[in-house]
Structure formats: C-alpha cells, structure tokens
Amino acid sequence: MCLAVPAKIIEIENQLVTVEVGGLTRRASIVLLPDASLGDYVLIHAGFAISKIDEKEALETLHLFEQLSDGDSDNFSDLQD
C-alpha cells in the first residue's frame, strides 16, 4: 500500500501537476510537496507527490560500496554522462 512510483513533472497548474510515468502521463497533486517544480523527479503515491528524488544522493548511494564490486566502474561512469 505504501507503493510509490518515480515520475517526472512535465506541467504544473496550481497544486495539480502532470507527471510522466513509464511513458504515460498522469495527473497528481503536489499539496504534500509544495516546493515541487517543473522537471523535478518525484515519487507518486496514490495520486500525490510525496518526495523529490535527489539524483546527487542517488549517485552517492551507488558509490557507497562501489569499491566492493568488481567490474562496475563502467556503469558508474555512464551515469556521469
């Protein structure tokens, strides 16, 4: 029930936004995330944006145990492009 999907905000109109999820567009409310803005990646739970997805944090998390895994450096450098 706490499922949430990542989406990108492609249009904002007051507290309603249009988001793109897996190639489809959908309406969502940003009443729980008032500082959301155009182009943000957000998590949508039951029609509401609940949190922004921070790309910098995502990359840092991936690097957390990077030295432990063999042969993954290529994937990480891809991300920086």
């Binding site: 944090e57 990359l59 840092e60 891809d78 991300l79």
Partner: protein, 364 residues
Amino acid sequence: MSLPFLDVFRNGPQVRGLLAELTMRLEGGTTRRIMEVCGTHTMAISRQGIRQALPPELVLISGPGCPVCVTSNADIDRFIEISMLPGVIAATFGDMLRVPGTRMGLAQARGQGARVQIVYSTLDAVELARNNPDKEVVFFGVGFETTAPTVAAALLEARAAGLTNFYVLSVHKVVPPALEALCAAPKLAVDAFLCPGHVSAIIGPDAYLPVAEKYDMPCVIAGFEPVDILQSLIMITDQLNGERSVVETQYSRVVRPDGNPAARALMESVFDPCDAEWRGLGVIPGSGLSLKKEFSDQDAGNKFDVDVSYSREPKGCICGAILTGVKIPTDCGLFKTACNPGHPVGPCMVSSEGTCAAYYQYEI
C-alpha cells in the same frame, strides 16, 4: 520513462558484488535475524529472490508493515456494514476489495448490492462525493504515514468545496509505536529493523530514535531495489558487528533528514493520535490516527452506527503470528490448502503486500 540513475539500482554485477560482501561479513558468525517491517519490502524481497540468495547466517523476517493485513476484522466488518447501508457509496483502494471480513469481504458485499467503488487516489473519492450529491461517500482510511496525509488532503479538499457528503472511516496507523510494541514483546527474536522507505519519507529518520536507543535495535531505512536492500543489509550487519544501534538512511535519494514536514503538518491538522488495534499485536497506545473533533461531522465512525459485535478473527489463520514475525506462512496449516489467492482465509494471503501472498507467488 526510464531514469538512468535509478536503473542502476537493479544492476546485476553490482547486486552480486554486494551479496558477496554481505556473505563475507556474516561468515561463521551468529545468525542475524532482521525484520523487514514494510509490506512493500516484503514483496520486493520475495519478487527479487533475495530471501533465498542470502547467506544462511542472515534470516529476513516479515513484519507488521502491510496496512491492510494489520487492520482488525472488527474494523473491516464495520466498513462492510457501512457499505451495505442504503444511500452509501463505499470508496476504497483496490487492495481491500478481496480481504475477507468475518461474514464476507467487500467484493461479496458488492455482489449483494452494496455500491463499492475502487479509487486510485483519495481525491477521486472526493470527486465521487461531488458527482453524487444525493449519496453519502465513505472512504476507508487504511494506511500508514505515507497514506494518511493524502486522506487529510482529501478531507480538507471536501471541506473547501463545501461538500457535506464525504466521510472517512479512519483506521490509519503509525509505524514507530508498533515497532516499540514489537521490541517490548517477549516473543520477538529480531536483531534489527529494515525500516520502511516511503513511511520514512514522511516521518523522517528521527522517528525511529526511540527504537534504536531504548531497545538497542539497529534501524536502516531502505529503498526498494535489490541494490538498496543489499546495501541496507550490509549497513545493518556492520552495526550489529560493531555493536552499534543507530538510525541510518540508505534511501537518501528520497528520505530527507526531516522527512516531509508539509505532509506531516497536513496530517496533524486533521488527525489526533489514538489507541489502535493491530491484528496480531493487539491494542497499541498512540498507534492510530482518529479524526480531530473539528472533523467529527466527516467521521464515518460517528455518523454510521453499525453493529459488528459478531466480529472474530478467522479460525485456524495465523496471520497475527506472521505479522509479528513469530511464524512464517509455511508454518500455517491452511497455507496453500484451505487458504490460497482464489480463496483467502486471512488478509496476508490477499493483500498485494501480504507475506502469505508474497510467499505463495514467489517463494514456494
């Protein structure tokens, strides 16, 4: 839409590397029992095959984090009875539809003439009230801190729109008091908690401090991809090996240090903490959310007087013990025989996040 910086959290070689690292840290040590609190984690772990891939020294135990599953039969029966009243439209998220109550589930109630409407968002339920001014729309408020703010938003929206026919039956629950109750229970044999990602996006990591500090339980807030889960298990293992008990956030791309204050403020403007009954855990003080006095005219619990004195838990079903990590689905005499997805006896078999459903689909 593909998010390249998220796809990497499913990267195969990365997953194998983390698994090897985890195995190395656990090898030859004592068995560590870690509870994945959240139902969405349970499903992800089962679907990704993580439980079987783990080294034998690490046992993952499912917890009480499926809101549908921890809802008591009395609460389910109450909503079903309300749905049968004339002039009522019962609005609910889809995962409650097939959950059995004492006499029937909502799906059967619908077969008997109840108007039960599945909604994707709480705002859809408000829309139902707007479009059906001659009906009373009752939304079943089931869910943790992730969902409760969306119900608060709907109540405020209905009020702002002047709708007097929108009601909520709130059986919302909050996670930290349940974890404390689990820690205080003598039967619990768990060494650490893998904490929910999206609940934590709202409440923030500090909400688990009492659990970590008072009960010496390592807590790591985890994302839902294989890399997230394995990284989090390594972080927990490091805490256990180092005899530390702190709250850490692996899912930092989503969970901010202060959570989501706007969502919390909205939730607190509509709900007050109350005691709540959890299937398997009993009544936990301060673990529920009831509507504030100002919203009593939208409180379906006040508005609709129904008798559910007949309520009882299903016979032979061990969902309660499964939800507290005391037993696993294969311990249940009904599992895969009398109880299956086509004919669920308890909620854990039918909820999309239920432990029995996860085991049935992916593990057995």
